[in-house]
């Protein structure tokens, strides 16, 4: 309807312009030309105005979603820190395990080679091939060997326990990686919404984050209200009457 009315107006103005030019009234013709040009400008301004308003609404709606600010300002940098911590923890665990294995292998090796020497002498003793002096030496060696075996078995147990405990990284890094996966899904969701925003401006919903479990404390992050170790846990519990 608006278009039709506009066209009619333009047609009327155009006819008026022809009349004015034919009758030689130049000044009036000038005014009519200005009026005709004004139509286009008005349309342009209206269109720019509409686009500006839509863009403004879209941006405002997007900014209202506080999750995005939170994601960009805190959670993405935090995620990098967390992943760095995963690298550090896995590296530490690998070094601890390797160190314990490297310390344990020579002990096992030494016990084995000592046992082989003694087994040989023992066999000679059973075959009555040892002199009295050689037998005395064998008894001393056996006494030493039994003591060493007890000692080394304790040491090996300790080294194997170190390897065992070092495997706790899998639980702790697993929890951290899960958190980062959740974050990536969140970011993906926001990006999909950003893409769909160009076509459709939805009312944004502000999502309040619920109470979430924090998982393993990452050094440099998470210092808020977090205890720094078992001693502080014990102190806190004993202050509560434990």
């Amino acid at each position: 309807m608006v278009r039709l009315e506009e066209n009619n107006n333009r047609l009327a103005l155009a006819k008026q312009l022809v009349d004015q030019l034919e009758s030689g009234s130049a000044q009036e013709a000038e005014q009519t030309i200005d009026l005709l040009a004004g139509f286009n400008e008005n349309n342009l301004f209206r269109e720019v105005g509409r686009l500006t308003r839509e863009l403004h609404n879209a941006i405002n709606g997007f900014l209202l979603d506080t999750r995005i600010t939170e994601l960009a300002a805190h959670e993405m940098p935090d995620a990098s820190e967390r992943l760095n911590y995963v690298i550090q923890m896995t590296e530490n665990a690998a070094h601890t395990s390797l160190g314990a294995v490297e310390a344990g292998l020579p002990l096992a090796e030494e016990l084995g080679s000592e046992a082989r020497v003694l087994a040989n002498d023992w066999q000679r003793f059973q075959q009555r091939e040892l002199s009295v002096e050689e037998f005395r030496v064998l008894v001393r060696q056996l006494t030493d060997f039994l003591r060493t075996t007890g000692d080394y078995s304790g040491k090996l147990h300790g080294k194997l326990s170190e390897v065992l405990m070092a495997q706790d990284y899998q639980d702790l890094t697993g929890q951290i990686i899960r958190q980062v996966i959740t974050l990536i899904r969140d970011v993906e969701d926001k990006l999909v919404r950003l893409v769909s925003l160009s076509g459709d401006v939805n009312k944004q919903r502000v999502v309040k984050p619920g109470t979430v479990l924090e998982g393993p404390a990452v050094p440099g992050l998470d210092q808020r209200d977090q205890v720094s170790g078992q001693d502080e846990v014990d102190d806190l519990l004993s202050s509560l009457g434990f």
Binding site: S161, L164, M165, Q167, D168, Y169, Q170, D171, L172, G174, Q175, L213, E214, G215, P216, A217, D225, Q226, V227, G229, Q230, V233, L236, L237, L240, F242
Partner: protein
């Protein structure tokens, strides 16, 4: 002494089971969250529960609350072994009636200490 170890990470369950074996506790069973752990406790005559906090399904704190709410289990000693280390969480666990709280990563000595402390108190 029959002990139930609840943790969603199988590696952590193995670590705890091995440490318990070193301490002389060989009768242990495993569950991967509260939903599988609670029915085991209800039907299994367990003497001790060691549980993680953050698990999919039923969390350790909910399992603890369920244990305390069950008349047949309410006296069961419970040790939380968890990476959750916020003060308010430790307080929440204490209020829910936990017997001990160990933060991950922990040492074999810490676990041993907490377990023997709990038994001393239970027997006293």
């Amino acid at each position: 002494m029959k002990i139930l170890v609840v943790d969603d990470f199988s590696t952590m369950r193995r670590i705890i089971k091995n440490l318990l074996r070193d301490l002389g506790f060989t009768n242990t069973q495993e569950a991967d969250d509260g939903n599988t752990g609670l029915p085991m406790l209800q039907s299994g005559n367990f003497d001790f529960l060691i549980t993680d906090w953050n698990m999919p399904g039923m969390t350790g704190i909910d399992l603890l609350k369920a244990v305390r709410a069950d008349p047949r289990l309410s006296k069961l000693p419970v040790l939380l072994v968890t990476a959750e280390s916020k003060r308010e969480q430790i307080i929440e666990a204490a209020q829910a009636g936990v017997n001990g709280y160990v933060v991950k990563p922990f040492t074999a000595t810490t676990l041993e200490e907490k377990i023997s402390k709990i038994f001393e108190r239970v027997q006293a």
